[in-house]
């Protein structure tokens, strides 16, 4: 229905822009206050990874329709160094000190669907979706 919202991520300031766009999109799509915050937080972490590890990339936001539901999809894309071991990155070595590594297991807990593709030397794409309850 609606079109994509693309946010170019090149600096820390773009992280704020990306999550505010995400917040607005989630709110207008009808998500509860809690889910809006979860979505904005997920976007913030994904955008932060782009800045920290790839230098630049983009975040794409779109409203999606499932068989029975509506949701928001966030695609985080970069042509950075990529992740050597996705398995390691997804392992929950995330202690309470927060901020260890890429924080991907944490992002996965915030969303309903989580798909990651990474090729060392070529880049990383993370695609997450949150459905309206």
């Amino acid at each position: 229905m609606a079109d994509d919202i693309r946010v170019l991520i090149r600096s820390n300031l773009d992280i704020v822009t990306a999550r505010q766009e995400g917040r607005t999109l989630a709110a207008t799509t009808g998500f509860s206050a809690t889910d809006v915050t979860l979505i904005a937080t997920a976007i913030s972490e994904l955008a932060r990874n782009i800045v920290s590890y790839a230098g630049q990339g983009e975040i794409v936001l779109r409203v999606v329709a499932g068989s029975n539901a509506k949701g928001v999809m966030i695609v985080s894309r970069d042509s950075g160094p990529g992740i050597r071991s996705v398995d390691d990155a997804m392992r929950d070595g995330y202690s309470t000190s927060g901020g260890l590594g890429l924080g991907l297991p944490g992002v996965r807990r915030l969303v309903d669907e989580f798909i990651i593709e990474s090729v060392p030397g070529r880049g990383t794409t993370v695609r997450v979706t949150k459905w309206l309850r």
């Binding site: 300031l13 992280i15 904005a40 913030s44 972490e45 309470t96 927060g98 924080g103 297991p105």
Partner: protein, 120 residues
Amino acid sequence: MEVPILKQGRYLIATIQAALSDEDLLHLRRALLERVIQFRSRGVVVDVTALDVMDSFASRTLRDITYMIRLRGADTVIVGIQPEVAFAMVQLGLTLEGVATALDLEEGLAHLEQRARSSS
């Protein structure tokens, strides 16, 4: 955007606005440390009521602030974390361990008073 820091007696109160960039946070860290030293403050309240998202960087920086200020012998308390933000934080695994938290400014100041009394 600079975070306003108010002095209230021996305490400092920093009130954060919603759209906080990484630079703003780092600036706040330095500013608070400078003022704690300048005013020999006993405690700092960081009010995050208006913060709509607490991500890993924000959480790390708040911990840094707490530790750095403790080195000057002062306590820090974070107040005003919104229910939705708290929920997202624990999902992400950010528990602000080692950092004191309170519901709001009033509770935060009460906490600092209590700490000051018990340590004096």
